[in-house]
């Protein structure tokens, strides 16, 4: 579903991604782990077609970036630590706006379904700026799945959430993944991604230094794997 070959991204003289290779099969849930400055967000922004690769090949669902960016964007849902929602519009108005942008068929049926899924049906007429951070993040997930994308990208979605909000977000994330979508998620919270992802990749200094399937790893061993990967990388 996602294929990345020899990806290089430079900002001026600074090279953030150094010939990175990465691939994800359809239906996989990959957690991309790594320290601050490893290039996780930069990599996700390239996959989301918000940033151009300096060198290398990126294909998503058979379409290459950046030349077929519009076709890729149609198949992508993106959630970052910012909600990408308008505070002065209600939850329903935000979803209606994005439904028009994505040309969602039967939007009048799809919007209530999505609001129900993220548990905000009873707050649909409230302005987003009155929502807590956790509620905004749930609505952000609703916005991202509105057009039923094949691939979901999550960039540290738990940032700034309290424990209850994190648990609620995990429930929504599991539901999103359970529908057979391909998911790539960056995170610092190893304990949380350990239960969610089916594969763990460690990104360090602009390359993937280690990768392991959840089934190939002892339970509760993710921290040791992560430390070892960073030490070797």
């Amino acid at each position: 579903m996602i294929n990345v070959r020899k990806l290089v991204k430079r900002f001026g003289l600074k090279t953030v991604l150094r010939g990175m290779d990465f691939s994800v099969e359809p239906g996989e849930f990959v957690a991309l782990l790594g320290p601050n400055g490893a290039g996780k967000t930069t990599f996700l922004r390239i996959l989301a077609s918000l940033s151009r690769p300096s060198l290398g090949q990126v294909t998503i669902a058979g379409y290459s970036l950046p030349s077929q960016a519009a076709a890729v964007r149609r198949r992508l849902g993106v959630v970052s630590h910012l909600p990408l929602l308008y505070g002065d519009l209600t939850a329903e108005e935000n979803l209606r706006f994005y439904a028009r942008m994505y040309d969602v068929p039967q939007a009048h049926k799809r919007i209530p379904e999505v609001l129900e899924m993220v548990g905000l049906a009873n707050r649909r007429h409230d302005l987003v700026r009155t929502f807590s951070r956790g509620m905004q993040q749930r609505l952000a997930i609703g916005r991202a799945v509105l057009h039923d994308p094949e691939v979901m990208l999550f960039d540290e979605p738990h940032t700034g959430l309290d424990q209850d909000a994190c648990q609620m977000l995990d429930t929504v994330l599991r539901e999103v993944a359970a529908r057979g979508r391909t998911v790539v998620m960056t995170s610092h919270d190893l304990a949380r991604v350990a239960d969610l992802a089916s594969r763990f990749d460690v990104l360090s200094r602009g390359v993937i230094v280690a990768s392991v399937e959840r089934t190939q790893m002892e339970p509760d061993n993710l921290l040791a794997f992560y430390r070892q990967a960073l030490a070797q990388g």
Binding site: F11, R45, A48, S49, L50, S51, R52, P66, A70, A71, R73, R74, L76, V78, S80, L82, P83, L84, L85, Y86, G87, D88, L89, E93, F97, Y98, R100, M101, Y102, D103, L127, R143
Partner: protein, 243 residues
Amino acid sequence: MTLLPQAEDQARRKSSTQGVGRFIRSLTAIIWKDLAAELRSRELLSAMLVFALLVILIFNFAMELDARARSTVTAGVLWVTFAFAGTIGLNRSMAMEKDRGCLDGLLLAPVDRSAIYFAKAIGNLIFMLIVEAIILPTYSVLYSVNLFKPGLLLVILLGSIGYVAVGTLLSSMAVQTRTRDILLPILLFPLIIPVMIAAVKASTGYLQGVDFIDIRPWLNLLAVYDVIFIAVAFMVFDYVVEE
């Protein structure tokens, strides 16, 4: 054998019609969103209006003008007011997109990115025209000048289009930086000098009752400037907003 090219032609036309339809749908969606959000918050319009009213009030108290002097400085005062108030509007309009990462939300949508530019530009133009529609009668009352002349209104429209065409493009560049509030006027004012000169000259011409033949070069300049900068923005917007 002859049907195949026809079928291809039909498919191409259908795809092109769908593309135009999608472009217009996304364009109207963004304009609707901007107007709905502004109707709720009234942040942008109130800031522009208060600023514009203060500027013309200050000019009113600062300059003791007789009837002849009024006809020469009116155009300058008006365009200075519109330009400064417009900068506030342009900054606020793009800052709203940046606040919660909404600009990324727009850029992630599978639409032609020039639709985003045109929608933001039309939204900015609507806000600017609303402010101008309030400022003109206020100015007329304060300075006892009749500003409701069709020619002058045409100049204001053409000047505002040129201002907004460049301003929207530059504000989408400036919004990516930390010093966006300072950067926008620094980038914008040198580029809108041709618009300002042409708009002030043409406006003064209409206010002083100069023959149309003498005003026409300035109107032509405004129209050409509008066309050129809209075309430039259409071509470069994608590169401006992408990292």
